[in-house]
């Protein structure tokens, strides 16, 4: 077909989408980059000015540096533990579900996918109710089973202070870390389960038969065949879900709002970088600082994604 001179018509067609993108994504992002270099805050609401790298310097030195270090460390632990625990649970369940001798596989699969299907906002609110200190079903259950005292006693062995019952899941440092992690694992494991199940099912059954002919036991088949074959499929997923959990705003903000409070710091015990940045902007009105944090987060996640793309590309090469 002969190429026709269409003039600027294609650009006209694209214009609505491009304008929308520009106003909704490009301009706000550029604006926040600009704000990161200003002192825009409640104190300088109408007279803010360019301050160079001062916001970044504040994050890395002085009193704010300790907060940054603590929040950053917890963010990494949070994301890492979320990924490993949800993957562990997902892989375990996937192996069970992949066994053709299991009756009612479809039923279980449906049940296990549900946490993924329910909007996270709703289920996190639900968990907040379940974890309520006085009226929550979890404490009620523990008390009725007589497990709350036992749990407190066991944990009390490792802490200086005795553990109070009923357990204040969302208001005590330590317990609140455990609570947000548990809820996040509950939110995240269906995705890992689905990924693992897909990877497991892509291994043809005759490969296992071939191994069994040569006398490989079930354990050996898992170690020598399943794990190596899953590794290449799961590594990119691991990295991207780490990046996702790094910015898992909803689970933290809706469950504990970053709390409980830590004396002497604006950031609460369970605040991760993204919720802390939100707090800085919309509770403390330090827009410049919030934007500087946002840029930090962007750099960290972008690096991680870069590594991921590189690795994924390398896999394609090898195959």
């Amino acid at each position: 077909m002969r190429e026709r001179d269409s003039g600027g018509l294609p650009y006209l067609y694209l214009a609505p989408a491009l304008l929308l993108l520009a106003f909704l994504s490009l301009l706000p992002n550029l604006y926040s980059v600009w704000l990161a270099f200003t002192n825009y805050s409640l104190n300088h609401y109408s007279d803010y000015s360019f301050v160079g790298l001062r916001n970044f310097a504040r994050i890395l030195q002085g009193p704010e540096a300790a907060t940054f270090a603590r929040v950053f460390a917890w963010t990494v632990v949070w994301a890492g533990a979320s990924v490993l625990l949800s993957l562990g649970l997902g892989l375990f369940l996937a192996i069970l579900l992949n066994n053709s001798h299991l009756k009612g596989r479809t039923f279980y699969r449906t049940i296990f996918i549900l946490p993924w299907a329910i909007p996270a906002f709703i289920s996190v609110m639900m968990w907040q109710g379940l974890l309520n200190t006085e009226f929550g079903a979890i404490n009620l259950l523990l008390a009725n089973l007589g497990l709350d005292q036992a749990l407190a006693a066991v944990v009390g062995l490792f802490t200086k202070d005795p553990v109070a019952t009923p357990i204040a899941w969302l208001n005590t440092p330590g317990w609140s870390h455990i609570a947000v992690l548990a809820v996040n694992v509950w939110l995240a494991f269906p995705f890992q389960l689905t990924t693992c199940l897909g990877a497991l099912q892509s291994v043809p059954s005759d490969v296992y038969e071939a191994a069994s002919v040569d006398g490989a036991t079930a354990g050996l088949q898992f170690r020598r065949i399943t794990v190596p074959l899953l590794r290449s499929a799961l590594l990119p997923v691991l990295l991207s879900s780490f990046a996702f959990n790094f910015n898992q705003f909803a689970a933290i903000y809706l469950l504990t709002a970053g709390g409980p409070a830590v004396p002497g710091s604006e950031a609460g015990a369970t605040d991760i970088l993204i919720t802390y940045s939100y707090k800085l902007a919309f509770n403390l009105f330090q827009y410049g600082m919030a934007c500087a944090y946002a840029i930090f987060i962007f750099i960290l996640v972008a690096t991680l994604s870069g590594v991921n793309f590189k690795l994924t590309g390398a896999f394609e090469d090898a195959n």
Partner: protein, 364 residues
């Protein structure tokens, strides 16, 4: 101990209501190249999987080397399998794939290395040990699969449609390759195939299966020349079928009536005088002539002719309902193979060239 490597006694395997394998008896001679031939769904793969131990029969008994292995696990039998899709371990290189079974047997590294090198040489993959599976062509992967199975020195090598994924030329080469390996190693091969040509050219013995039953077992020549059932005659090669009425049976010769003409055919057990039967005629055994000859013959009219290179295939109408296919060799000065459509001809064949098939049996 007798000379049978694999024995099936009344083996049945059901999947739900379907009998995938139905009271099958089989005997495979030591050192034979044995084929299980049949259309898809005939139970040949299920049969193979039961020899391998991937599947257990619902009833009946399977013996390997005289030992009852019906309920033994795959690795407890001296049997190895080459899978249709090769089932190679994609994350291991060629050497590790082949060495997998040897490592399970805890041989030391020197032994493993020498065995792997020996078998890779035998399947003509010398020096390819460190290649990744994805770098190999289909034919090479096939050889790795063979090497992986053979390196364990099984009594019986099972091959599940091993050549189905290869192109025509490669398939021919691999047929020779398999035959050579089998002769060189003296191992019993059991091949599953739906390709009758493959079964006929490679095997010492063929079992033709249909709907879970073995229709006939025998050397390729027997199966082709003396099919036991209509199914076998139809599945192997091309056959013309004509309904006949049996007039008399005498001295191993049976006289049947076909379109009011008396025809002599070899006798068949169970087909007695007065019975309705069916005649199976191979197209290449039919001779077309312009003039009537003595012996078995039928008049007809040429309907169509197709040039096929070495021969020409004529369609000859011999009655209202029956058109026979007859293949005539193309000689250099093609005297015999130039009949034109519409031309009246005689179809002739020798008394031993036809097979009489009992009607009831085929309608089973």
């Amino acid at each position: 101990m007798n000379n049978l490597v694999v024995e099936f006694r009344e083996v049945t395997r059901r999947f739900g209501n379907v009998k995938a394998v139905d009271r099958v008896d089989l005997e495979v001679q030591r050192g034979a190249f044995f084929s299980l031939l049949g259309p898809s769904g005939c139970g040949k793969t299920t049969t193979l999987r039961m020899i391998a131990g991937f599947d257990e029969p619902d009833s009946g008994c399977i013996r390997i080397n005289g030992q009852d292995v019906t309920h033994l696990a795959p690795f407890q039998r001296r049997v190895n399998t080459v899978f249709q899709n090769y089932a190679l371990f994609p994350h291991m290189d060629v050497f590790e794939n082949v060495a997998f079974g040897l490592r399970r047997r805890r041989l030391n590294l020197r032994e493993i290395r020498s065995k792997v090198e020996w078998i890779l040489g035998l399947v003509r993959l010398d020096g390819m040990g460190r290649r990744r599976i994805q770098q190999l062509s289909g034919g090479q992967q096939q050889r790795v699969a063979l090497a992986r199975a053979l390196v364990n020195e099984p009594e019986v090598l099972l091959l599940d449609e091993p050549l189905a994924a290869l192109d025509q030329k490669l398939r021919r080469d691999m047929q020779f390759e398999l035959k050579r390996l089998q002769k060189e190693l003296g191992i019993t091969f059991v091949l599953v195939t739906h390709d009758q040509e493959e079964a006929l050219t490679m095997s010492d013995s063929v079992a033709v299966m249909n709907a879970g039953r073995v229709e006939q077992i025998g050397p390729p020549r027997d199966i082709y020349d003396h099919p036991a059932t209509r199914f076998v005659a139809d599945f192997i090669g091309i056959a013309n079928f004509l309904p006949v009425k049996v007039r008399s049976v005498q001295n191993g010769r049976t006289t049947v009536v076909l379109s009011d003409r008396e025809i002599l055919v070899p006798s068949r057990k169970g087909v007695d005088a007065g019975a309705q039967a069916e005649l199976s005629l191979r197209p290449e055994r039919l001779r077309l002539t312009r003039a009537a000859e003595t012996g078995n013959c039928l008049p007809g009219t040429v309907v169509d002719s197709v040039f096929m290179g070495a021969c020409t295939r004529f369609s000859v109408r011999v009655s209202e309902d029956h058109v026979l296919l007859a293949e005539q060799q193309n000689q250099q000065h093609g005297a015999c193979a130039d009949f034109n459509p519409g031309e009246p001809v005689w179809v002739n064949w020798g008394p031993s060239s036809a097979t009489l098939l009992p009607l009831m049996h085929s309608a089973r």
